[in-house]
Amino acid sequence: MNTAWLFVIVAALLFGIGVYGLIIAGHLLRKLFAINIMGNAIFILMVAASGSLDGSPDALPQALVLTGIVIAVSATAFALALMVRLYQLTGKATLQDDEDADD
């Protein structure tokens, strides 16, 4: 058991939680939490699995993840704007399918 293994396990657990949250969440904001958590899990996986934790740090995966963080915030910002607009127009912040499923 070393650091890389530990963080791979953490990434797997986070990804699982994210997927679970994405499925059960009704509110769109909750779906966004879940998607962001899944993204973070993948970021951890990329850095942990690059083998840089136990040897010399590898700049490539870190640079990739840095790009990923910025893309994630861009996508989240757009999704939030969409969510607010949806709420404005329909008075609901859930997806149509979800309501059907509830009935």
Binding site: G18, G21, H27, F33, Q62, V73
Partner: protein
């Protein structure tokens, strides 16, 4: 001992993620999500990635949290009597699917970790090339030298996200931030914090060339200034985007493209940066654009104007 600290952080991440997903109130969820982001920053620091720790704290936790809070406030303003209920869907498949996904990630990760690997051929090649760029920080070096097209497109994506969001903010009337009176302490806080934040942003920008930092971290820190100014009413959201906002908004993309094309004209490959000074130039322009984009996303507006106070 070190593994114990890592395990504690990992456990914290898992618990926070679970609480964020399953908590009852949305507001609580946002707060927990921010705490999750800050814990992620700790994890990055432990994993030997201080650049990512900075980016995560500033962008992942700070900016995302602020954007979520703004969206939440809009939701509450629209229907104050009905706070968003945690309507959860029941799904018998959720748990098996989640377990499957987690297993998949674990298999991929553990496979990659335990795989025999040529000891960093690509990495060593990168490091030897980086010596020529004069950039001490390999992350910035990789971003600007080997993956510069990605970095350029990344700025473009951020701008595109803003433009897309802008079409969605739509035609609604912007209610100006209500004047908060002249709270003496807030004025003093601003007068101290904002100059200091600008200094720190410039430091991060320059430091990015030899130690953790860079345009994205600096831009996020600078964006915090704008957010503070909006919250205190010194800057107001405006419906029209003037040149004073529009030009800095595209400055990063513009300067990066021009420098990159100039290289092509002079016979070098596209986006080959001729010297360290171009790196500073591009990073500064990118910082300004990134900060402004984030502030406008926070304001949910197309432009900014000076407040009356």
């Amino acid at each position: 001992m070190n593994l114990a600290i890592d395990a504690l952080i990992g456990l914290g991440l898992v618990i926070l993620a679970w609480q964020t997903i399953s908590g009852r109130s949305l507001f609580r969820g946002i707060v927990l999500f921010v705490v999750f982001g800050l814990t992620m920053a700790l994890a990055w620091a432990r994993m030997g990635a201080p650049d990512l720790a900075l980016a995560e704290a500033a962008i992942g936790a700070g900016v995302t949290g602020a954007l979520m809070l703004v969206a939440y406030r809009r939701l509450v303003q629209l229907h104050p009597e009905e706070p968003a209920q945690p309507n959860r869907r029941r799904s018998r498949l959720a748990l098996p699917i989640a377990a499957l996904a987690a297993g998949l990630v674990a298999v991929i990760g553990l496979g990659a970790v335990s795989a025999e690997r040529e000891p960093g051929m690509a990495g060593l090649a990168v490091m030897s090339e980086l010596a020529d760029t004069g950039l001490g920080n390999p992350i910035t070096g990789v971003l600007l030298k080997f993956r510069n097209l990605d970095t350029l497109l990344e700025v473009a994506v951020l701008l595109a996200a803003f433009l897309a969001a802008r079409t969605v903010f739509a035609d609604e009337e912007k209610s100006p931030t209500p004047p908060r009176g002249d709270l003496p302490l807030v004025g003093a806080l601003l007068a101290i914090i904002i100059p200091l934040t600008i200094l720190v942003a410039v430091h991060l920008l320059l430091a990015g060339s030899r130690e953790p930092g860079g345009a994205f971290q600096a831009g996020a820190v600078l964006a915090a200034c704008g957010v503070l100014l909006i919250l205190s009413g010194r800057l107001q959201p405006a419906t029209r985007m003037g040149l004073a906002v529009g030009l800095p908004l595209v400055l990063g993309l513009l300067v990066f493209s021009l420098v990159g094309l100039a290289a092509l004209v002079m016979g070098a490959p596209l986006l080959a940066l001729p010297g360290l000074w171009t790196v500073y130039l591009i990073e500064t322009a990118m910082m300004i654009s990134i900060a402004l984009t984030l502030v406008l996303l926070f304001a949910g507006a197309s432009g900014l104007r000076r407040g009356d106070s």
